[in-house]
Amino acid sequence: MSRNPGRPLSPHLTVWKWGPAMLVSILHRATGTALAIGGGIAFVWWLVAAASGAEAYDNFLAIATSWFGYLVAVGLTWSFFQHLFSGLRHFVLDTGAGYELKANRIGSILTVVGSIVVTFAIWATVFVKMMGAH
């Protein structure tokens, strides 16, 4: 049976094609969940450690500045900016704009490009500073 490739595939359990809008929708949930749990726990841990005194804070800082701490921090940075840009896209969609196929596709792709560029810029700056300090 031949299929007209110009027509969309209906979402089915196993028959679907990845598209930018679908990817960004899934990423919005995944990054939101990661921020809510990972970011939430890290934020509270940091504050409770700071309120518990210098020793507790130094313990936190030692873990936060380990390779694992940096890995989590880079992941949370990307998650935050992906969720932020995708959230801004939702504000636009809430007004009823941006549903045309091409505009919607470009908007979706921009959120992913934006989050990667900003994350890279931030952590490149941090690591360059660190190299300079040592």
Partner: protein, 129 residues
């Protein structure tokens, strides 16, 4: 949402008694996060170091402690609303769903309370000499 008058639905008098308030608060807290979290990231970036004295001294300033408390409220309210929707979508069994949402409420409110208490403890402790 098919029953009741238009104004009744807007006021949240429909079958769920919530109207559009969940959706709206998700947006209000998103706008709050949009201002407060970038402020937080930029402020951390501008700190000369992350040692205890620097961070505690920074947090003791009213213009830092208050936005941090507001950030905590906005972020934990937002994540409570967001994770609630995720749980409602993926946890189908009614008992498990209620239990998960109960845990979510404990997590969000408990974490926010811990965070706010910690910020205020540092802020009211005054600027370290």
């Amino acid at each position: 949402m098919g029953t009741g008058t238009g104004i009744g639905r807007v006021r949240g008098l429909g079958s769920a008694k919530h109207g559009s308030i969940h959706w709206w608060r998700q947006r209000v807290t998103a706008a709050g996060n949009l201002l407060l979290v970038p402020w937080f990231i930029v402020s951390l970036f501008r700190l000369p170091s992350f040692d205890y004295a620097t961070v505690a001294g920074w947090m003791a300033s009213p213009l830092v402690a208050v936005p941090l408390v507001l950030l905590t409220i906005s972020v934990f309210y937002h994540l409570r609303l967001g994770l609630q929707v995720v749980l409602e979508d993926y946890v189908h069994e009614e008992g498990s769903k209620v239990f998960c949402i109960l845990l979510l409420n404990f997590y969000a409110i408990g974490s926010a309370a811990l965070a706010i208490f910690s910020i205020l403890k540092i802020a009211f402790g005054g600027v370290p000499a």
